[in-house]
Symmetry: D2
Subunit: 216 residues, 4 copies
């Protein structure tokens, strides 16, 4: 069981070592929506926690992104029905194999249905970048700043954020647009990401800060 109750002095070491400097918003932004699929809304499968609320907030951000012409990418976890692409991840969490192309569980939730021209990525690993064209697609769109939403904070969001930053994208986790099946890991991972990889902003703050980020 996770127990992270630390005296302030323990975590204060991050400040003393100079972490958590702001990266900031660059010249051209995009939005990625990670794995908001039906199977992650139902606690009987992979859901729970604050995932429903984070989907609701992401609806607002997606509307803002579309109104301003931002590139938008969505991800789904999809495994082959014949098990041909099973591997280490599905050995660790065998339930993932239910997420086949046609399963209701692997469909993007109706509130966030991709619009024409938005990129739809099928992935088999935690990161939206691993073995996908996301980095190349963002380069083609001349994006330098990526807002990350989706679930779970401690899983595919965290992995996506590490890769986004490693690819030199200015990476911003939208704190109320990411959710997890349990709140402890959600908060622990927001802490890690905010210290080392990404800026943390609320949905309202993102919308306020990007009123004039119109793309074409």
């Amino acid at each position: 069981m996770v127990k992270v109750v630390e005296p302030l002095s323990e975590l204060d070491i991050y400040a003393r070592q100079g972490f958590a400097q702001p990266i900031g918003i660059g010249e051209r932004v995009a939005l990625v929506v990670v794995d908001f699929v039906v199977g992650f809304t139902d606690p009987a499968h992979f859901g729970g926690g604050n995932i429903p609320q984070s989907i609701a907030r992401t609806q607002a951000l997606l509307a803002h992104a579309r109104a301003n012409g931002w590139p938008v990418a969505h991800t789904r976890v999809v495994y082959a029905a014949d098990g041909s692409d099973a591997g280490a991840f599905t050995r660790k969490a065998p339930g993932l194999l239910k997420l086949t192309e046609d399963s209701p569980l692997s469909q993007i939730v109706p509130e966030l249905t991709p619009a024409p021209g938005e990129l739809l990525i099928r992935k088999r690993q935690p990161s939206a970048f691993f073995a996908t064209e996301l980095a190349a697609w963002l380069l083609w769109k001349r994006v330098d700043t990526l807002f990350v939403t989706g679930c779970t904070t401690s899983g595919c969001v965290r992995a996506t954020v590490i890769d986004a930053m490693s690819n030199n994208l200015r990476t911003i986790v939208v704190t109320d647009c990411v959710g997890d099946r349990a709140i402890g890991p959600h908060e622990a991972n927001l802490f890690d990401m905010g210290q080392k990889y990404a800026d943390l902003m609320s949905c309202d703050d993102v919308i306020a800060a990007t009123q004039n980020r119109r793309h074409n």
Copy 2:
């Protein structure tokens, strides 16, 4: 500040959803030692917490690996002295730029000096796999199982473990051979990794389980 005190019922959702199945040790193992460099042993730079203890335990595991002929890879974080390779990560944590090729801070600690034939990887991002030849090198050595040691648990170890698993390596975090500058994130990340990406084993258990894993 990280606060993760959860009723058992909150984290119990992982068990109900079928996470944390053992992946197990495969046919051919290797050891990676992540970023045990001088700058991560000194709390005035990037050190602190239980990193010294984890280095001591890794000495024992490294001796076992060498005695049995395992492939061993070491990583260092190295940035160019002229700043030519700075990017998003060094913007978030500017102190990283001190870790130049010739800086004492970026040298592997003397207890773990690489031996001839062991792979030395220079990296600029958290994962030992990102923009490095580690995956290809392990394939050449026909490795299917990777024991991960190093620091920090919540940083470069976590990133390396996600990529190891995504590359379909059977990935095992050696719990007392990984360390962090603060214990809260150390434990929170062991929890996440054990649920979703890797098996967790102590150094003693690894040594006991691999007595006959002699390579040649």
Copy 3:
């Protein structure tokens, strides 16, 4: 126009510089079939040259692979019908955008229909490895040797072979199982690959050399 008529002395420099050493067949083999889709059989789209003959030979090799339980992967080029994933490659060769999920042109030819358990890879770039899970899948199958078939020799086969070798796979181009729309580039690329990246073997020689390579 390509003109490569060289005195033996010009190309003899490769031998003097030590290229074209055999890599050999390793311990565990797999077969990849690159882009043998309908659109590459018709000269009105992307076909021509010796592609039909190379498909016929690949039928024989695929039967051998299946009889011996080898891992088999097939690739298709697939772009989104809404143009969302267009990029540099489709700018250079706009006809690629016809290869959508449901287009008859992007279906694997009936002679080589994938069997259950074989990996089907959708790709948008020349290499079967670029932004796909092929490398990770081969690692999971413990493969160290890859036989490459498909089309075109000077395009997706060449790109796949460079990446296979870069990933440290022992890579073997099956010379009569790869085809191209024009014979000049076909032969020029076999030369380059045989000198620098891969062993060249005929289909008959592969079958003879792997009579006992039974997997399970």
Copy 4:
């Protein structure tokens, strides 16, 4: 031996199938200089052909790039002196193992010595992108167009160009700034790249077309 003497009608199939459309120069350009190291200038090692002339032309383009503040990256092939990173490529071409960090053969030729702030990439595989930070570095510099120079045209230049295009960079091969140990493969590879992956421009044309491409 390579023999590519084709009736125009054979290669004309490329035009009929719509290849070789211009990609064009985008908004922000960079220059990569691939493997112009001492060992590739000497026919006793890896040199020969038109490599010396291509180095001389690249001097002119490098001066232009520097005068205009373009991002510039250089690559060297570097293997460990202890053989720890040998693999499939060094099995195919064992002479590569001579290219160690301190060998005179692996030093960039004096005419093209990197300047402070230019990226220096050590690589072990043909492509300047494979297992390196080049793509991430170009994204950080907001580059969308890459001019490719270096050697050999049929080797590391071709591999780099495939990856540049696959990463969605507008890729331009500077035809007289790339060289090869033999002219037949040089020309055959220029043909392939010009049809499928990149625009072809002479050094003079690049300089003329980018008079006002000043970066800062």
